[in-house]
Every structure is written in structure tokens, then in C-alpha cells.
Symmetry: C2
Subunit: 342 residues, 2 copies
């Protein structure tokens, strides 16, 4: 029998941030695909679209008019999934039927007044303004009594449920810590208790030794395909310094962060020669006033495309009922992405 | 301030089977949708398609010819994500980089020789033959030394990554217990330890009292929208008798199971007047030889459509980074489904 080889044989990989596993099937990248093809979104957009509710000076569904903003612009989501005014309460029947009211605030952040740009097209100094706004929003929302977690994210591309191509992201801030950051809180906390060091700092040190999964690096950040990546071209941005949240980022780190976002998203756009769809999100410590010495600031990118601009990875039957599964290895994905960094 | 109302106010619900939460935003169903529309698959298919690799007598990619089967047909997946011959091994660097080889068997099950049918169109006595085959496969695969979990599932519809409309499902059987059934093993085990009763039996009793979320019921099974449902029209089939796996199902239960699958899938097809896409899967006890007195056999249905035949729920940015979120309440979904049961 041949010896076990990560690049050849089906295997499971462990995600220490969540405590969960992913199934990797390297040989399976060869199977033919006759299933659904995604539509490609047209790539030519005007710099200003009079019918876009995010463009400067336009009027939104609720009748409010956007200012003639010059860099970024933030406002409360007109159809937020969370609301500030939700009354407290719970609905409980025995141990098995349990609901709790949830208060929160949903915001939309326009990254640029230009309707035709994406983060990948923007200059680092303009992305820097987005980073500044994320920092302000984290501080402002996190300071509220009833906000204990601030989730900053972006859905990019129609395939990611994004209904408006104007460059924008969202913030959902809420009373409880959602499931995914809660897992990361537990796992990073346990690791810190055991080692008195950050899980992600130790992991980053391992990755910088081999560089096998590193995509890009600058003074303060590294972009890499995590060993346990689920999505075909999934990456993570990890800060070299161990800090808990964006509020602690200093000036140079903010510049580096903006720059590595530019580098990574521009490389993504080279993979299939199209504006690359993804969901991204920042994970950081809760804002409940407790200390989280184990938390290490990072940002995830989950892009769904697998084989081409129109063939994505489906997380369906086995993935929903069993666990996530991937075909190409993280190492192969990293090698391709690295070769596309300019 | 108004009092907290499940049908009006944003809230979280607890899933006792996994220990995780879902965010419910009932008011949000009203927001307009301008995003991606799914393509509708054409509904007219021939009873036999000469180019289908699942139709009787046709030749598959690997050169094998399907028999002229009359009811069901099972074969090893020509592009299985798991393989029987994988060598043992592991790749470990410290605590943070961990992979293990994984052995397994992937099979495809044709539900019918007719290319143009789905479970929803089939007669209960023909679905019963599928149930018989699931039972055999669970026993046969589960009896192998290196198989400790058998995942039976179906991806239906192009939107669910299904690349062939011929009615079929899959089985992925493997050495380790995947993440989702592992969570259910833990949660059901804890509940059983505490109460000496089945979690799902107790839950079912609560649901049968109010019937608010019950969709259909027969002698041995209940179809309902679980209180903690994530997907818009998600349902679960729960056996009235507490048993651990399909191997323990007796004759009448198998008939009832086939019948309730027919009832549920036929109701689904009425929701938007199209063949309703979903992923479904059976959760049951591992086949590692241990006793799992807490395990209670059930089947999940996860359908993605939300508003129409072409608008689905996107599980993207917030859902990936935070936790699942839904707009319509499980109670409203159950009411609609119940009204469509014939
Ligand atoms: O095996 P199939 O039908 O080719 O593939 C489909 O189901 C699998 C199991 O859920 C998924 O991993 C694939 O992404 C999906 O396209
Ligand atoms: O808020 P949007 O952009 O209208 O909506 C999009 O992002 C949300 C947060 O990930 C999802 O809940 C929606 O399903 C998706 O369509």
C-alpha cells in the first residue's frame, strides 16, 4: 500500500478555531461537472447609477436621501434583521423549546461613492477609510449597553445574495455572541489557558516556517489559506501582533490591513478573470466588557467558486448532514493564489 | 413597550439537537428582493433518457453498464469523495495542524428506473423499496470494520448541486462520525443521561400537544417544522417509537415512513407549484458497535427556496460568520405546508 499523502488521499483536517473537521478529497477535483452553471454578472457598471439606493444623493426605500458623500457612508439598515426597540422576553416550554428576544442594530457601510468599484479596484488609502469606519463603528456600537458582539461582514456578488453591486458591507451588532464567534471564543480561550499564548499567533509562526499556505504578507498582516479551509479559495488575514479587536489597531497596522485587503482581493479577481464573489467577515472579541486575552483579531474570506467563473462548490446534502467537504487541497489553492499576487 | 411576540420580534431559538442557535427575524419577510433569481429547471423529462448515466441499460463514465433494473439500483460512486483503499496515516504539527486519513465508501442509489419521476411523484409502495434498500445498505455498510457512520442523503434540484435529475440519492459511509451527527450524539446522550428518555420523543410529545408546527402525521411518523428550523421550509420526520437506526424499523414502520415521505414531498411541490428542491438526510446512531440509547432515528429536509420558485434564502455573510438566520417563522411555514397536505 502507498503511504498516506495529503495531496492524494481523502482525509479529515481539524479546525482548532472551531473544534470542527472538514473532509478533504483531493482526487475528486477530476470528476466531470454537468450541473448548475451560475450566471455571470455583467462587469460594466456606471460610476453613478440613478436607480441605486447606495449612490450619493439618491433616495432610499424609506424616503431618506443619501448625502453627497466623498469616501465612506454608514446608515441604519432600512430592513435590518435586528432592531433596537425589541422588547425583552422569552418563550420557554420545558428544556426543549427555548426562544429569547434579541436586540441589535444593523448597519450598511458604503465603501466608496463610486458605483463601479469593488475593494479590489480601490486604492489602499481609500480602503484605509473603510478600516477607519469599521474601527469607529466597533467602538460606537460596542459601547452600547445592549450590544455584546459586533459582526462586520461583506457579501460580494449576486451568488452571495448581494442584491446591489455598489461596493458595501454590513454590520450586525447584537446582545448575544453568535454561534461562530462563540466557538472561537471557547477554543482560543482554552488554548490561552493552557499555553498563555495566542492560538493564532502560534499557528501563524508554523505557517511562516513552511510558507506553503501563505498567499501574501506585509509588515503587520499575513494572508494565508488555513490548513482547515472549507471553501475552495478560502483565506484568513491574521495580524502579526496579538490583539483582540480592531479598536486596538494602531495607525501603521490600519494601513497594512488596508493594503493586504487590496492585495488579496485583487489576486482573487485574477483566479477566473472576473470580479470574484465572496463573503468576508471580521472575527474579534465580544464587547461585553470582559477581557478576552486569548482572542486574536482576524478576517475570513469565504469565496464559493470552485472550477470556473460559473461553477461553484455546493455545500449541500453531505455537507449539511455530515460536515463540510472540499476537493482541491488548501496547499494547491494557496499556490495558485500566491502566483496571482501582484 | 409591547410584549415580546415570537411572530413579530427578532429572537434567537435554541436547537437542542446540536446545542446551537438560529436568529429569527419575522418582520424581515417584508423587505423587497432585487437580487439573484435562480433559473427554473424545465419540468418535462422523458421517462428514459439515453444520455443519463443513471437510466437502466445505459453506460456510465467508467464503462460499466447499468442493469435493466425495475425498482431501485445501487452502485459505488464512480467519483466518490471517500475511498475504500485509502492508506492509514496522519499529518500532525504541534496542536494546531492536524490531519488524519479517512477511509469510506460512497454509493449512489437510483430510486426508480423512470427518469421523469421524483419521490413526490412515486407511489408509497415504490418509495417503500427505497426504504428497504436504505435498510440493507445501512446494515451492510455498517457491518464493515472500518465504517463507523453511514450518511444517507439526497440532493434534489440543480440549485442543490444535483447534476442529474434522475431520481437518486447517495450514501457516504466512513470511519469517523461527521460533525453534525457527532453534535446530535452528544446532545441526545446528555439528555438521555439526565432524563432516561429520548430527547426527540419528549420534543415530539410537546409538538403533538399544540400541533402548531405539525405538518403531517401517520401511525408511526410525524412530519413537522422544528421550533429551531433554519431553512425557510425545513422539516423533520420523527419516528413515534424511540429506536436508534433504520435497522430496527419493522414492516409497518417502513410502510409508514414511505408514506410520510410521499405526503411531505408532495406538499413541498405545492408550495411554489414546482418540483421543490431540497437536501434531505437520515440521522441515526453510529455503526461503531457501541450502544446509543439516546439516539432517536429521524430525517431532515433542508429546502432553500424562500419567496418563490426563483428566490432562495442565502446563507452568506452573517450566517457564515455569525449564525444561521431566517425570516418567516417556523409556525408560518408549518401552517402553509399543512394546508398543502393532501
Ligand atoms: O456527488 P454529486 O451529486 O456529484 O455532488 C453533489 O453532492 C455532494 C455531496 O453533498 C457535494 O459534495 C457536491 O458539491 C454536490 O455537487
Ligand atoms: O442584507 P441583504 O444584503 O439584503 O441580504 C443578504 O445578506 C444577509 C446577511 O448575510 C442575508 O441574511 C441575506 O439572506 C442575504 O440576501
Amino acid at each position: 500500500m502507498p503511504t498516506f499523502d495529503l495531496a492524494e488521499h481523502p482525509h479529515r483536517r481539524y479546525n482548532p478555531l472551531t473544534g470542527e473537521w472538514v473532509l478533504v478529497s483531493p482526487h475528486r477535483a477530476k470528476r466531470p461537472w454537468q450541473g448548475q452553471q451560475e450566471e455571470q454578472s455583467p462587469d460594466t457598471r456606471p460610476t453613478y447609477d440613478p436607480s441605486c439606493y447606495l449612490c450619493p444623493t439618491n433616495t432610499r426605500a424609506n424616503g431618506e436621501q443619501n448625502p453627497d458623500y466623498a469616501s465612506t457612508y454608514v446608515f441604519d439598515n432600512d430592513f435590518g434583521a435586528l432592531q433596537e426597540e425589541t422588547p425583552d422576553g422569552a418563550y420557554v416550554v420545558g428544556d426543549l423549546i427555548r426562544a429569547e428576544s434579541e436586540r441589535g442594530i444593523c448597519r450598511v457601510i458604503c465603501f466608496s461613492p463610486r458605483h463601479d468599484l469593488t475593494l479590489a479596484d480601490m486604492e489602499p488609502q481609500d480602503i484605509r477609510k473603510v478600516v477607519d469606519l469599521w474601527q469607529q463603528e466597533y467602538a460606537e456600537l460596542g459601547s452600547r449597553d445592549f450590544i455584546n458582539y459586533v459582526q462586520i461582514f461583506e457579501n460580494k456578488g449576486q451568488i452571495m445574495g448581494c442584491s446591489n453591486p455598489h461596493p458595501h458591507g454590513q454590520i450586525w451588532a447584537q446582545r448575544t455572541v453568535p454561534v461562530e464567534p462563540a466557538k472561537e471564543t471557547t477554543q482560543q480561550g482554552l488554548y490561552y489557558e493552557q499555553h498563555q499564548r495566542s492560538l493564532l499567533a502560534d499557528y501563524l509562526a508554523l505557517e511562516l516556517e513552511t510558507r506553503e499556505r501563505v498567499v501574501a504578507e506585509n509588515e503587520h498582516f499575513v494572508a494565508l489559506v488555513p490548513f482547515w479551509a472549507v471553501w475552495p479559495f478560502e483565506t484568513i488575514l491574521i495580524s502579526k501582533r496579538h490583539f483582540q479587536h480592531i479598536g486596538q489597531m494602531h495607525e501603521e497596522e490600519k494601513n497594512s490591513f488596508a493594503q493586504i485587503i487590496k492585495t488579496l482581493t485583487a489576486a482573487y479577481d485574477q483566479v477566473f478573470g472576473i470580479s470574484f464573489p465572496y463573503s468576508s467577515g471580521i472575527h474579534q472579541s465580544p464587547t461585553d466588557g470582559q477581557a478576552y486575552p486569548g482572542w486574536h483579531f482576524h478576517m475570513h474570506f469565504y469565496p464559493p467558486l470552485l472550477r470556473s467563473a460559473t461553477v461553484k462548490k455546493f455545500m449541500v446534502g453531505y455537507e449539511m448532514m455530515g460536515n463540510p467537504q472540499r476537493d482541491i487541497t488548501p496547499e494547491a489553492a494557496a499556490q495558485l493564489l500566491r502566483s496571482l499576487v501582484r
